[in-house]
Amino acid sequence: MQATEARAPAAAREMFYSEALGDALRLEMARDERVIVIGEDIAEHGGAFQVTAGLLERFGPTRIRQTPISEIGIVGAAVGAALTGLRPVVELMYVDFAGLAMDQIVNQAAQNRFMFGGQARVPMVLRTQGGSGRGNAAQHSKSLEAWFAHVAGLKVVMPSTPGDAKGLLTAAIRDDNPVIFLEHKLLYRTKGPVPEGEHLVPLGKADVKRAGRDLVIVTWSREVLFALEAAERLARDEIEAEVVDARTLVPLDKETILASVRKTHRVLVLHEAVKRGGYGAEIAAMIAEEAFDDLDAPPRRLAGLETPIPYAQHLERSVVPQVDDIVRAAKELVA
């Protein structure tokens, strides 16, 4: 894959995260007729979060292939299609439904290449979204990146900005491996500059979204926005937090993370998913293992409580890290 990092190219346009994703799909579908989109509600309705809006009109119902509710059937069909020459992009409406399709994702897509001794490639993207914040309760609000990241054979991507969303989705579609592409339901209506035309952000590169000297917050997806907000508040108290957006969880950009740790000597790993067994554990353990002597304080994790996501708005907020929680944890860490 030839990927060029284009951070702030000449022509950029303000777009919603959802539009940026749609833009990537549109460009890749125009570029390569083997790219098709498969999923529920993606045609006339334009997808539950409007990412595929307009694509039916442009590419027709065979390339924007709306399916019945049959998650394992759909994902499995995508695996078969990928094995035989298409480059399918599946939209799984909520990551919570992955439990229905996990067998095809893990036992087939992730492992086929290996099991067949290299005879096959499975160039497919599974786009889905997770996270809480919309009152959708416990079966529509999970953050499950840790499941996928544990599976050898998958790549895992979680963009936080519209620009990254477009660039990473483009790279994911061009990747010859199964890529789990995890969006966040509360990011779709966030706006940001998005390079026009072809835009690739290579998989496996973290992004320092804010520089700082006192601690580094390593995070991804929606919590990046919270971390940046927290960093602004901390700055008022003269605490300068660096914010590293991991962006790709697999492959993980250890170098960028470790460089920030070596610079700041204190680290807060932050995510929305349940803390117990979350991917933050991997990052914290990796840091403890590889940068032990650079640490002036224990590597700290701030993450979701060990509970399903509740429905009521005040409860929902109480179980995943909010800006206040980040500010508090950061202050404790540098104290």
Partner: protein, 320 residues
């Protein structure tokens, strides 16, 4: 259906309709968080089926679950309280619309996973069989759910084990934006029953009498130990998939035509009055009583305390 039952199911249907209408209002006023799915137009199915069930029979429901919950005897106040995120709600504000359960009445819960309740009802039926009770389990689910693997696996298990289960597929013509015509290569979903060796029956889901009669037979069959049945009720949802659905996939004409043509409440009023079971005035009185009940329920719900903070591990784990 006897005269009393006719009036009872009419009331149940009216309660469901009233609940959905008031929920829509509350949702429009931003008092309800998340997403809600209206059962308006499908009332005859829940009402007709549940009129044959006892409190100790079980049901599993769906994301579109208010109707099943009400038909199975739920308290409207506790339902509204749940939608309003109150401690007094069925799920103490933890579940919301998509997870309302009322185990005291055998309601094993709405379910946000399409097809997710089908195996659970099958398991409830297994309990009845295993413990030798004469309880029955009914699973409600949509046309969309009939294309899930859980449908297939569950119906087969129930058939080979002759479980006291009834599978009620509510064919409301759509799974979100996908019309049934594009989701099935068969006209009649009930034909699938033959693949499991169980009876399958297509019924008019607008006509609560038809639903009642078919359900009565299926439930009696289950209770008597003669195994499961698949019922497929033709229906139509009056509203969008969820409140706020732009319904780009439907024409105005279609929506308005169906809505008029397909209203189980209008239909029930007509035959109840025609057959002299109750007068229009009697039914109006029921409507008024239900309207007042709903006002009271909302007021009660609204007066309840906000859901208490999550307590861990106790909210998640039993006995801890």
């Amino acid at each position: 259906m006897d005269r009393k039952t006719a009036r009872d199911v009419y009331r149940v249907m009216r309660r469901i309709r009233g609940f959905e209408e008031r929920s829509a209002t509350l949702f429009g006023e931003n008092k309800i968080w998340g997403t809600i799915h209206s059962y308006a137009g499908e009332e005859a199915i829940a009402a007709g089926v549940c009129a044959n069930l006892r409190d100790d029979d079980w049901i599993t429901s769906t994301h579109r679950g208010h109707g099943h919950c009400i038909a199975k005897g739920a308290d409207l106040g506790k339902m509204f309280a749940e939608l309003l995120g109150r401690e007094t709600g069925y799920c103490r504000g933890r579940g919301g619309s998509m997870h309302i359960a009322d185990t005291s009445k055998g309601n094993l819960g709405a379910n946000g996973i399409v097809g997710g309740g089908i195996p659970i009802a099958t398991g409830a039926a297994l309990t009845a069989k295993q413990l030798g009770t004469d309880q029955v389990a009914v699973s409600f689910f949509g046309d969309g759910a009939a294309n899930q693997g859980t449908f297939h696996e569950s119906l087969n298990l129930a058939a080979i084990w002759k479980l006291p289960a009834v599978y009620v597929c509510e064919n409301n013509q759509y799974a979100e934006s996908l019309p049934v015509k594009r989701a099935f290569a068969v006209d009649d979903i009930a034909v699938r029953a033959a693949g499991y060796g169980m009876p399958g029956l297509r019924i008019d889901g607008r006509d609560v009498r038809a639903v009642y009669d078919a359900a009565r037979e299926a439930i009696a069959r289950a209770r008597a130990g003669n195994g499961p049945t698949l019922l497929v009720a033709d229906s139509y949802r009056h509203e969008g998939h969820y409140y706020g659905d732009p319904r780009k996939y439907q024409s105005k004409d279609e929506i308005e035509g169906w809505r008029k043509r397909f209203d189980p409440l209008t239909d029930a009023r007509a035959w109840i009055v025609d057959e002299g079971i109750a007068s229009a005035a009697d039914l109006d009185a029921i409507d008024r009583e239900v309207a007042e009940e709903i006002d009271r329920a909302v007021a009660w719900a609204d007066a309840g305390p906000l859901a208490s903070p999550i307590a861990l591990p106790g909210d998640v784990y039993a006995g801890d």
